[in-house]
């Protein structure tokens, strides 16, 4: 009976309706998903300032930033020289020490092993720097992976010296 109606016109209406409806549905679903993303109060806490005036040469402090440990080490001359002398060809993840520590005396790194996320231990391992006990990754005095399953060097966060005693991270 009515099926002889021009199928083209009828389908166009239904197709348009479905499409407009689907657009609306997608637009409605987005807020439901986005509300789980970091909210503005979390995003506001994305920087922290650290007073390093009490850190002696050869000592490391650990501070919390975005819920993760940050190693701040005031390196000795020997450690700096050792780090600079490493041949890039020997590195799994080649990176110059001067690119990692703009001010060579200070090394600022995210203290999370790039393998599976454990916190490496200080003053341990074959390179007398950091060693991750979970699966045996060894990092050198620049925090670069030298031995073990970790794929990349310890991450360098965004940071700057706002004055000679304060580092702003993030």
């Amino acid at each position: 009976m009515s099926k002889e109606l021009k199928p083209k016109r009828r389908d166009f209406l239904f197709t348009t309706t479905y499409t407009i409806g689907a657009v609306g549905l997608a637009a409605a679903i987005w807020p439901l998903v986005d509300q789980m993303n970091p909210d503005s109060s979390v995003k506001a806490l994305s920087t922290t300032e650290v007073d390093v005036s009490n850190v002696e040469v050869g000592k490391t402090i650990t501070v919390l930033w975005r819920g993760k440990p940050i190693f701040i080490r005031r390196r000795t001359k020997e450690e700096i020289e050792e780090a600079a002398a490493v041949d890039l060809k020997d590195l799994k993840d080649p990176e110059k020490d001067s690119d990692r520590a703009k001010n060579p005396e200070w090394l600022v790194m995210v203290g999370v092993c790039t393998h599976l996320g454990c916190v490496p231990l200080d003053n341990k391992g074959e390179y007398k720097a950091w060693f991750c006990p979970c699966h045996g990754s060894h990092y050198d005095t620049s925090g670069r992976i030298r031995k073990g399953p970790a794929p990349t060097n310890l991450e360098i966060p965004k940071y700057e010296f706002v004055d000679s005693n304060t580092i702003k991270i993030g």
Binding site: M1, F14, T17, G21, G24, A27, A44
Partner: protein, 286 residues
């Protein structure tokens, strides 16, 4: 059916109108002024918000907290829209508690953008004790916590008067036309020239009342502009969708079409009777 529909719409409208009368018996003849944020296309006047912040800081903040506001809100979209640097500078003027430090002690430090607004008193009891037994309410959502909203706040600020003859007022209580019961423990906070606006606007009482009210409305509903923008797009979209859906529904129903079906049904009935009358088999017409 139309009568029924009309009755129901009337019913629902009566409900909505009558149920909005929650307010107690107070003067609701508010002073009128034009609010930039009223109506569905309203927006906040940025300059007014910045002046309103100045009024808050210099007049109100001594007693009233806005504990749910953060300093970063001052530079975020939809608000006073100070620059990030200006907002940082504002925050740095105030101290907030932090800690414990490595020695286990709490300490004070300058506020940052991520901090909530500093409070004049550490808790409600301290606030009550310092204010003659009355609690200066936190103003984070004050504009939503009072029937009459912006109009009420504006009228209250301008509603201080000499009490009528014979009206008893205790010490520290003032007469206000718009306060419930006409008694308020806050003395008139605004007077001409009580602060100097940094943008040079003349700081009359009406101007300050308008600016602080605008600020407080924003503080209560910082995403107002975004809500209205989205709402406008959503309603337009839904009207378009409704048109398409209704047309689709009509198209689908035309296949069944009660009128056509009834006609066919009636025709079939008559056809059956007629062919039987003829002595024929209705199924085969033979």
């Amino acid at each position: 059916m139309l009568v029924l529909l009309n009755r129901v719409i009337l019913t629902i409208s009566l409900c909505i109108i009558s149920y909005s009368s929650f307010a107690e018996e107070i003067n609701t003849n508010y002073l009128k002024t034009k609010w930039s944020f009223s109506g569905i296309f309203g927006t906040f006047d940025r300059a007014s918000l910045q002046r309103g912040y100045q009024v808050y800081q210099e007049v109100c903040a001594g007693c009233h907290s806005v504990q749910h506001l953060s300093y970063r809100n001052l530079s975020e979209k939809g608000g006073p829209e100070f620059t990030v640097e200006e907002a940082k500078a504002i925050a740095a003027q105030f101290e907030v508690e932090d800690g414990p430090n490595a020695d286990g002690e709490m300490f004070m430090r300058p506020a940052r953008l991520s901090d909530k607004f500093a409070k004049p008193y550490p808790n409600v009891q301290a606030s009550i004790a310092a204010n003659g037994g009355a609690y200066p309410p936190d103003m984070s959502v004050l504009a939503k916590a009072r029937a009459g909203g912006a109009d009420y706040l504006y009228s209250l600020l301008l509603g201080y008067e000499e009490a009528p003859a014979g009206f008893e007022l205790d010490d520290g209580v003032y007469y206000n036309k718009y306060m419930a019961g006409n008694k308020i423990k806050m003395s008139a906070p605004l007077s001409d020239g009580i602060i100097d606006y940094s943008d040079g606007t003349q700081s009359t009482t009406e101007q300050m009342a308008k600016d602080i009210t605008t600020f407080l409305v924003w503080a209560s509903e910082p995403h107002l502009e975004s809500q209205h923008r989205m709402g406008f797009k959503v309603i337009i979209y839904l009207i378009v969708l409704l048109t398409l859906v209704y047309m689709s529904k009509q198209k689908v129903w035309s296949r069944f079409g009660s009128k056509n079906e009834d006609k066919e049904e009636a025709f079939d009935k008559v056809e059956k009777v007629v062919t039987e009358y003829e002595g024929e088999d209705p199924k085969t017409f033979k």
